[in-house]
């Protein structure tokens, strides 16, 4: 808190049901990405790198793994005397019944006491399931410079896709004049990234009013932002340029992994000035065997490769047996491709085993095949 008087709250309660079996047991923010990360590592590392010391993580759906994962704040260096990562699932209160978080705004409302205990001037609201690198300190500087009541991070999207997003219509100074959720006829291509900076005193008032409103969805996009605009508050759009992905489906999660294979990929995880931190795993370095081939791949420690890997991303401890082929595929942590098996255009879930000689997926499939259960070998 000492650094910039801004506290961050990460919304990490969502299931991500379009990720199917990947999120049966874990919430979407805990889904693995990029060889060694979990999605929530991105907002958490961004916070650490932006000089934010205190981060609350709002969890709800299948939160056992996520809670224990984010609680170890030292992974992101958020474990100094003045910093910490605090897990905030719904809880029973003296003056209210135990209830789930009914919406994004409600999750914050139910933790007003937590935020008040730090007495921040600004509150940063983040989503736990986006992949991007952002310096929130720059966004805060913009917020202050414009004397805004709230600042919303936006990203330019192709006009023809704009109707899939929450679109911010701004005037020439960058002030938001209108917010349209998934407009049929978009007037602008500036999509909300679900990243907000609020002046805490103002937001606090709005949240208390929102809690009492029986017609509210208790949602930032649907309720809080429109209410602020109605009240004539100053909302400004801060335009983000760079890689940003909300991986909602198996196809988009696969694609986001494949993006890492590009030579000049915008996410640039190699950048030592903005590292993404994650769990420190005790694993061997990667072993590439005498008969292996590796062509265009992103491979991390603990992997052992005896076969052929092409155009693929291999997560911690994935193994590829002799004579096996892994093409256009994502192998999640501990996935095993036994000797002679062929895997094409697939996303193989954590710990799943593809048996000897099995053939999985195909090069001309429309969608990426999610392999979430062991596949028997062919004798």
């Amino acid at each position: 808190m000492k650094q910039n008087n801004m506290l961050a709250m990460i919304l990490a309660g969502g299931r991500g049901s379009r990720l199917h079996d990947l999120t049966n047991k874990v919430a979407k923010p805990a889904v693995s990405y990029g060889g060694k990360y979990r999605i929530v590592d991105f907002p958490l590392s961004n916070c650490a790198n932006s000089g934010i010391d205190v981060v609350g993580v709002l969890t709800q759906y299948e939160s056992v793994l996520l809670n224990s994962y984010v609680a170890a704040g030292r992974r992101w260096g958020l474990d100094t005397k003045d910093s910490g990562v605090y897990v905030l699932p719904p809880r029973e209160k003296a003056d209210a019944n135990l209830d789930v978080y009914r919406g994004t705004a409600d999750a914050i409302s139910q933790n007003i006491d937590f935020i008040d205990s730090y007495d921040p001037e600004y509150l940063l609201i983040l989503s736990g399931d986006h992949i991007y690198k952002m310096n929130y300190a720059k966004m805060l500087a913009y917020h202050k410079e414009h004397n805004a009541d709230a600042t919303i991070a936006v990203i330019g999207v192709p006009m023809k896709e704009a109707s899939r997003f929450g679109i911010m219509n701004t005037d020439e100074t960058g002030r938001i004049v209108e917010f349209e959720e998934k407009p049929a006829q978009p007037k602008s291509n500036l999509a909300s990234m679900g990243i907000y900076i609020f002046n805490w005193k103002l937001l606090r008032k709005m949240l208390i009013a929102d809690m009492k409103d029986p017609d509210s969805n208790h949602d930032f996009g649907k309720d809080i932002i429109p209410a602020l605009l109605n009240d004539g508050k100053k909302l400004v759009a801060w335009q983000f340029k760079g890689y940003w992905k909300d991986v909602g489906t198996i196809d988009s999660l696969w694609e986001a992994n494949m993006d890492l294979l590009d030579k000049k990929n915008e996410l640039d995880l190699h950048d030592s000035t903005w590292k993404i931190y994650t769990e420190d795993v005790s694993a061997l370095p990667q072993y590439i065997g005498p008969d292996a081939t590796v062509d265009r791949a992103f491979i991390t420690q603990g992997c052992r490769i005896e076969g052929d890997v092409k155009n693929s991303v291999l997560f911690t401890g994935a193994t590829v047996g002799a004579g096996a082929k892994v093409i256009d595929t994502v192998l999640m942590p501990g996935a095993v491709v036994e000797p002679g098996a062929v895997v094409t255009r697939a996303l193989v879930a954590d710990g799943v085993k593809i048996g000897k000689g099995a053939v999985v997926g195909s090069a001309d499939s429309e969608n990426i095949l999610l392999v979430a259960k062991n596949v028997k070998g062919v004798e």
Binding site: S282, L284, P285, Y287, V294, D295, R296, I299, Q301
Partner: protein, 373 residues
């Protein structure tokens, strides 16, 4: 909590690894791309429940101290446990006097104080690579009733290897009759792993005695002298064993572990070797990269060809480069179309302009830290 505390010793003055040791002690040498040699003794101790550990540092301790930090990454309890780095500050200009005994003498009060909680001491070197459960070794030591237990590894290449090491002469009951230098006169030898278990009290008295006998005495020398009086026994070590006692042995030890079968002899999933993370991302292999029979750490960018090599964290192997039988340390760059063979390339070095750097496998070459050639 273990009945023993741990001591990790630094290499004696007779051990010299050309080049690399100018920058850091052997314990801080990079090993298998992502480890440091000292990770092995400390992880062995930590996995054995020993969480009070003293690390002795002699020269150029910066890199070692940085790597050890608070010891949290070694799974040592940050409240109950302790990882201490003990420096020898009064080292003599004449290296002859800078013995392990002199270093222990300098810190004798700290060692004596350990007795309150830990009646035993496990001593292991920071220049040997092996895994060993010290907890079971301590049990063996206590059950045997021996005064001192020494760990050794039986080898059949002592004529040409392990020449900087000591050997144990054992009687049929595994009693140690003497400790002497390996002079390369016989194939089969019991290489002393410079690893001891004894009562802390006995250890303190040996240090003091050694100082009285000769100010140039080392721990193996005083133990050798006591072999007749004390019950000193040898226990054979099984599994992978390597010593980093000269440049060639460093090179060979790294390359020997490229063979996965060999590596499983050292690395056991139930016995993790801990190290400090650098938070580097996975390694990226580009189109046209070719890699065979190699061990690669994270954070590398690979466009060229790698064969039979160990590549450290964050290295760049540029287009057209061929790296063969090499140990490349972290952050090194092998430039376009460079052909490099049988070399150790130290940290941050860049091989850009000299397009052919090839040495004989029996006499591997060395590119200095931070150097550009």
């Amino acid at each position: 909590m273990s009945k023993a505390f741990g001591i990790v010793t630094s290499s004696g003055t007779h051990i010299k690894v050309d080049g690399m040791q100018d920058y850091r002690p052997i314990g801080a040498f990079s090993f298998m791309g992502r480890y440091r040699v000292i990770d092995f003794p400390i992880s062995n101790m930590s996995n054995s429940g020993i969480d009070r550990i003293q690390v002795y540092a002699r020269r150029k301790p910066r890199s070692l101290v940085e790597h050890l930090g608070t010891g949290r990454h070694y799974n040592i309890n940050s409240k109950r446990g302790k990882l201490q780095v003990l420096f020898s500050e009064t080292s003599s200009a004449n290296d002859f006097y800078n013995t392990d005994i002199a270093a222990f003498m300098e810190n004798i009060e700290i060692i004596e104080r350990m007795q309150i909680h830990q009646p035993y001491v496990v001593i292991a070197p920071n220049y040997m690579v092996y895994t060993q459960n010290f907890d079971t070794l301590l049990d063996t030591h206590i059950e045997s009733g021996a005064d001192i237990t020494l760990l050794y590894h039986k080898v059949n290449n002592a004529r040409e290897a392990f020449l900087n090491c000591d050997i144990l002469n054992l009687n049929k009951q595994k009693g140690v009759e003497s400790i002497e230098k390996n002079r390369g006169t016989a194939k089969e030898r019991n290489i002393f792993m410079d690893t001891y278990i004894m009562k802390t009290e006995l250890f303190v008295s040996l240090i003091k005695k050694a100082q009285k006998v000769s100010s140039a005495y080392t721990l193996p020398q005083i133990v050798n002298m006591e072999c007749e009086e004390l019950d000193v026994r040898g226990v054979a070590h099984r599994g992978y064993f390597a010593t980093i006692t000269d440049f060639k042995s460093y090179f060979d030890a790294n390359l020997s572990l490229i063979d996965f079968e060999q590596a499983t002899d050292l690395f056991d999933p139930e016995w993790p070797i801990y190290t400090r993370t650098t938070d580097s991302c996975p390694t990226q292999y580009f189109e046209g990269a070719s890699i065979k029979n190699s061990v690669v750490a994270n954070g590398c960018l690979v466009e060229g060809t790698i064969e039979n090599s160990v590549i450290g964290r964050g290295c760049q192997i540029k287009k057209g480069a061929v790296v063969k039988n090499c140990v490349i340390l972290a952050q090194a760059v092998i430039g376009e179309d460079v052909h490099i063979e049988n070399q150790v390339v130290d940290k941050w070095a860049q091989v850009l302009h000299v397009k052919e750097v090839v040495a004989d496998p029996d006499k591997p070459g060395y590119i200095k830290r931070d150097d550009t050639i």
